[in-house]
């Protein structure tokens, strides 16, 4: 009743305003508090997000800290020399391959795990045990990259890590896992799965819960076994979610795994571990080769952006579900 009265009054106010011909000034006056609120946020976006975008110009220049970004000279070949150097350089294929391949391996092995976990969890009877498994499985998601790498580092230590103690107990030589090229990708993917499978399953569990229970009852009456019900009802019910998640993850194939790789790799394993973002970090910040590193970073984000666009286009085609 009261809110209706409020609406009526508001309507009158609005038409009154419209008759007065709304000028820009009156709009600013009406929104002044909202505009003041936005001020710090706008400042944040301009300073920390848009100013660096201007800095991308460096990729086409020979950046000189004294001359500044604008004053620095353009590089040869219409400003493309940094890119040409990168494409022709010895590391181009290595870091491109490692970036895509690491993400791809994580996707290949890591993608099915949360789905299988959600399906199996669904077969448990509701109760303490089920909730406990769920709670425990989310936990690693909240540990930092650094903690996960440190755990790995300590447990795999050739000196007194538990894994090598077991290897030694069987009479074998201890392995220095983190320094071995052959082990890097395996360790990377395994810890990725360890950290992400429980958390990743949440969305599938929610999708399972939204499946119409009538379908299960009907199947039960028709005498379908539990396996049949999971296969013919639960799994198809999950399919749209699976599609969307898969597409998004494919969109992220050029994504950055800077923090984890940076903490995990060492000079011995660069051959298989060095990705574009770590390369940018070393060349740009440690060697202060700013323009070149900016060019490499720009290449990475452009290709990544195209992949995201493709992923979004694909998901739109599939079921009119898009990112934006």
């Amino acid at each position: 009743m009261e809110s209706n009265a409020g609406l009526a009054i508001n309507k009158n106010l609005n038409t009154g305003l419209r008759r007065k011909r709304t000028s820009i000034l009156s709009i600013i006056n009406r929104d002044k508090y909202l505009l003041i609120m936005m001020l710090p946020v706008v400042a944040f976006y301009v300073i920390f997000r848009y100013v660096p975008m201007y800095g991308v110009l460096m990729a086409f220049k020979e950046y000189n800290p004294v001359k500044g970004i604008w004053g620095s000279p353009w590089v040869d070949n219409y400003g493309m020399q940094n890119f040409i150097d990168f494409f022709k350089g010895p590391y181009f294929w290595r870091i491109l391959r490692n970036t895509v391949y690491l993400n791809f391996l994580s996707l290949l092995w890591g993608f099915p795990v949360p789905i299988i976990f959600a399906l199996l969890l669904n077969e448990l009877r509701d109760g303490f045990f089920k909730r406990f498994v769920q709670t425990v499985s989310y936990l690693p998601h909240f540990l930092s990259t650094m903690v996960v790498v440190a755990l790995m580092f300590f447990m795999l230590s050739p000196v007194n890590g538990v894994v090598n103690e077991i290897i030694k107990a069987f009479g074998h030589e201890p392995i220095y896992f983190l320094g071995e090229k052959a082990w890097f990708r395996t360790l990377y993917v395994m810890t990725d799965i360890w950290q992400g499978f429980g958390w990743g399953s949440i969305i599938y569990i929610a999708a399972i819960q939204s499946i119409d229970p009538g379908l299960y009852e009907a199947a039960l009456i028709d005498g379908a076994s539990r396996f049949r019900r999971a296969w013919h009802i639960t799994l198809p019910g999950l399919l749209p979610t699976i599609q969307i998640m898969l597409i998004f993850q494919i969109g992220g194939l050029m994504g950055s795994n800077l923090e984890k790789v940076l903490a995990m790799y060492e000079t011995n394993t660069y051959e298989v571990a060095d990705v574009i973002s770590t390369f940018v970090y070393r060349r740009g910040i440690q060697s202060a080769d700013y323009s070149y590193a900016t060019a490499v970073g720009l290449f990475n984000s452009l290709v990544g952006f195209i992949l995201v666009l493709l992923a979004n286009w694909a998901s739109k085609r599939l079921n009119e579900n898009s990112l934006w």
Binding site: E2, S3, G6, I9, N10, I27, R30, Y33, L34, L35, M37, M38, V41, F44, I47, F48, R49, V51, P52, M53, V56, M58, Y63, L120, L124, F129, V133, V136, S137, Y138, L139, F142, L143, S144, M146, V147, V149, A150, L151, F154, V162, E165, W194, G198, S225, F227, E259, A263, T267, G284, I285, Q286, Y290, A293, T294, G297, L298, S301, F305, W324
Partner: protein
């Protein structure tokens, strides 16, 4: 309707429960191992005989942590960043989300596009770094708080939440003469406490877990959070790195390996302690996020 389980189903159920127990063990074992190592007698720890439980209880490593200025200060720094950083995050998120939730706000579209654009394009690591070195906040505590003052995605999640609060409440407050600040503080904020809890948790965890921004923007080691300490331990094997970081690792070496384990326990402890109670909020946050913003 109770149905008798077939033999196959019984076998499956048993296997499933065993598998789930296995999942629990795999998830918790690394933590258990670290705790056991940190509390064991140094001799047992070095010999590598500790597998499941502490052997010869010894809390020296923890005493060393408290006495070591490095680690102790790093821990306090972490607490500082997690609290102050999260406060800044929440204020900024709400200040952005509220105007964007108001349908009649004149620049709503403009600001929305401005924020969405940054979710797809960014200047990248190097230009941001160059900018940071020129700002006065470089190498201060603010250097790792302000560059991540707000998360675009969480702005939209919060805006969506605000939209679920009946508009009539705001309208009647307006008629009573309240301005937008009062409406936000006295009506919207109290009505969206669950959302605020979700925001606080996500932001606090991300501050607590971050190490890379400190390495980039803070050259002064006394400003570093505890995660950076872990990074130094892990990266010291890469001599080149350690040299570049200019880290004095003699202290750590003298303390022996157990301090490392104790540091991990100290880093993980706050998360493990609050986790069981707050877990449902995290899950809720994911579900809110899953609804398109």
């Amino acid at each position: 309707m109770p149905i008798k389980k077939t033999l196959g189903e019984k076998v499956f159920d048993t296997c499933n429960i065993i598998l789930m127990c296995f999942v629990i063990v795999i998830t918790l074992y690394p933590l258990l191992y670290v705790i056991s190592m940190s509390m064991s007698n140094p001799i047992e720890a070095i010999k590598g005989t500790v597998y499941f439980y502490p052997k010869g209880l010894d809390f020296t490593a923890y005493k060393m942590i408290i006495q070591s200025e490095d680690i102790y200060k790093g821990y306090l720094n972490s607490i500082f960043y997690a609290t102050v950083g999260t406060a800044v995050n929440i204020i900024m998120t709400v200040l952005a989300a509220y105007p964007l939730s108001r349908r009649e706000f004149s620049l709503r579209k403009f600001f929305t596009i401005m924020i969405v654009f940054t979710m797809f394009f960014s200047g990248g690591l190097i230009p941001t770094y160059i900018l940071m070195t020129k700002l006065p906040i470089f190498n201060t505590r603010w250097a790792i708080i302000l560059p991540v003052a707000v998360d675009s995605f969480l702005i939209f999640v919060t805006r969506t939440y605000f939209n679920t609060i009946p508009e009539s409440l705001q309208e009647s407050a307006k008629i009573d003469g309240a301005n937008d600040f009062r409406i936000l503080i006295q009506i919207m904020f109290p009505l969206s406490l669950p959302m605020m809890a979700v925001l606080a948790l996500f932001y606090a965890v991300s501050h607590w877990n971050s190490y890379f921004l400190s390495i980039l923007y803070q050259t002064d080691a006394s400003l570093h959070p505890i995660q950076v300490f872990l990074y130094r331990i892990v990266s010291q094997r890469n001599n080149q790195f350690a040299r570049q970081m200019g880290v004095d690792l003699g202290v750590i070496a003298a303390y022996g390996i157990q301090v490392r384990y104790a540091v991990i326990v100290a880093v993980v402890l706050p998360i493990v302690c609050v986790y069981p109670f707050l877990q449902k909020y995290f899950v809720k946050g994911v579900m809110i996020g899953a609804i398109k913003g």
